[in-house]
Symmetry: C2
Subunit: 370 residues, 2 copies
Amino acid sequence: MAFTTLQEMELPAAFDAHVHLRDGDMAQLVAPTIRQGGVNQVYVMPNLVPPITTVEQCLEYRARLRAIEPSVDYLMSLYLHESLTPDTIRAARKAGVTGVKSYPAGVTTNSSSGVLDYALFYPIFAAMEEEDMVLNLHGEVPSTPSSAPLSSSSSSQPAITILNAEPAFLPTLTDLHARFPRLRIILEHCSTGAAIAAVRACGPSVAGTITAHHLSLVIDDWAGDPFCFCKPVAKTPEDRDALLRAVVHSSGRFFLGTDSAPHDSGKKRGEDKIAAGVFTQPYAVGLVLDALETGVERGVVAEADVKKEVLEGFLGGWGRKFYGVEDTRGEKILLRKGEEEIVGLLSKAGLGVEVVPFRRRERTWKVTWK
Amino acid sequence: MAFTTLQEMELPAAFDAHVHLRDGDMAQLVAPTIRQGGVNQVYVMPNLVPPITTVEQCLEYRARLRAIEPSVDYLMSLYLHESLTPDTIRAARKAGVTGVKSYPAGVTTNSSSGVLDYALFYPIFAAMEEEDMVLNLHGEVPSTPSSAPLSSSSSSQPAITILNAEPAFLPTLTDLHARFPRLRIILEHCSTGAAIAAVRACGPSVAGTITAHHLSLVIDDWAGDPFCFCKPVAKTPEDRDALLRAVVHSSGRFFLGTDSAPHDSGKKRGEDKIAAGVFTQPYAVGLVLDALETGVERGVVAEADVKKEVLEGFLGGWGRKFYGVEDTRGEKILLRKGEEEIVGLLSKAGLGVEVVPFRRRERTWKVTWK
């Protein structure tokens, strides 16, 4: 298969290991676009307002999502929070909840209830390891406050900004893996070469997700463009290229988690502070294929390395394997290159929100369900 | 003088060595705010549309500015462009034009006519050196295009992004200074510790300007905030702290050039791509004092180093000395701490533009003219 010359290909339906479906009107708008993107199984993030911290909330949320779009399999998660106990973890496992998502306090959308000190949660992690639940890490440390005295941003240790927040988190990943070696951990939305290396240095119980947009964006793209701004921010061209290489040389350690993060267009354009998040859900698989094609054209990845098993693995197989799930529907998708035009604005009559997608009005692969 | 305890101080009227006054309605809105900021003399940037490339355009532009606000002294500049000749430089000098501004092609607002190859302009620089005119450098190299093949962003040389665009330019500064050692050069809006070091490593014919906003902003501040986004972008806390130290240890090598860059609020909020520029003109002196106070509180600069001669020098004396001008008006300003509230939006009846200032609705020093 010469990947860049293919005009059409058939793949198993994809698994998106990191989605934000929100609730209410936004969920009504977004959940129906999952299958449009070539995906029939998703891992759902719990950062609603308030966050999902009980099994009951979690099951109710899944019921609401199923009511909107029943043809998708929703793997559910709890929000790591001090109200959680080892009993919650055991009950969650019994009820079919898949994992727990950890947000460092204050680094991204709806993370104000997040983690300040991981040691507090060791009993939770021990219970998760015991119950074989997945820990999903938002792998950034909070930025040094502007008002911090020089001693806390001194010459010995550089201050933390959104640029080095992920590399600064990696020792925590390594430490958690050493303490809980059987705990399945995912470093979500890897955005740096350093993150890729840190995941690889861990054992097979640790994996990383990579988004579609981090495979094409760099810092220049989001500076001045609200619709390319997300957390973690896209970094340097060298980092982006490390992510592209991680896709084709994954060996199952990295797989797709789009972190598709819808915000009403007013939160992206009209407000003073711009909400962080790139919305890719309706075009998830096509955007990954486009980024890989650019990677081949630029000489970052070899065409021969973009094998069918790489595409099948990154887009579904490897994520499903790590999560221990299958596509019980056994569905296939047919992709046709360049035949889909990304809409300028996603909206629906009667809903009070509308979302601007990534790469709006450009062309990508069209998904047809077989 | 214990700087941070002062509630009131008297200073000579300030000189702002880098202003964007635009033209038409925007100039009508902005030029009258120069004195509000404590400034009575400015160096005016030539990046209008089309850019100012002839002596006649330059003098006409100054006449329009004088008609709007006659109580300010406008030092004028030409836009470095291939249509310039050594004769233009000699005629410009005779007509009272002060300098020439160099924009690298495509890096900031209205720079599409900018420089691709500095060697083309050596005859111009030679004439400027002869005529003792000032060369103002926007010190960034263009970013590596996203589509560039890997060889041009290879492991030997990192790709250029808005983060390393200024450090990557510094060899050009050093080279131009070596070729034209008597040519007065200003590295405008220094934004990195590397830029400060490069200016210091040159002889006394080279100086640097520092903006008010780069003395307080870091990358986290402009990520997600259109009104803190400018080119060059604010960098790390270590870079910001190097700028604060450069102010108090300037020895005349660094002085205020606000790079106050007004854009209609629609270009900051409503459009898809956000215009680069932070608007500080009406509060120029107060914003510098506030940043220095925070610098003292954070332990970055010693209170004893914020001497009256430092404030007088950075805010006016050193810039005037480098430019070889004086405040012929001999005006004084009285500053009162915290007595000015920055407006939420600068607008004026009958004008088709409105501008959101930096740190809107916060308090700063109030300027009164004596």
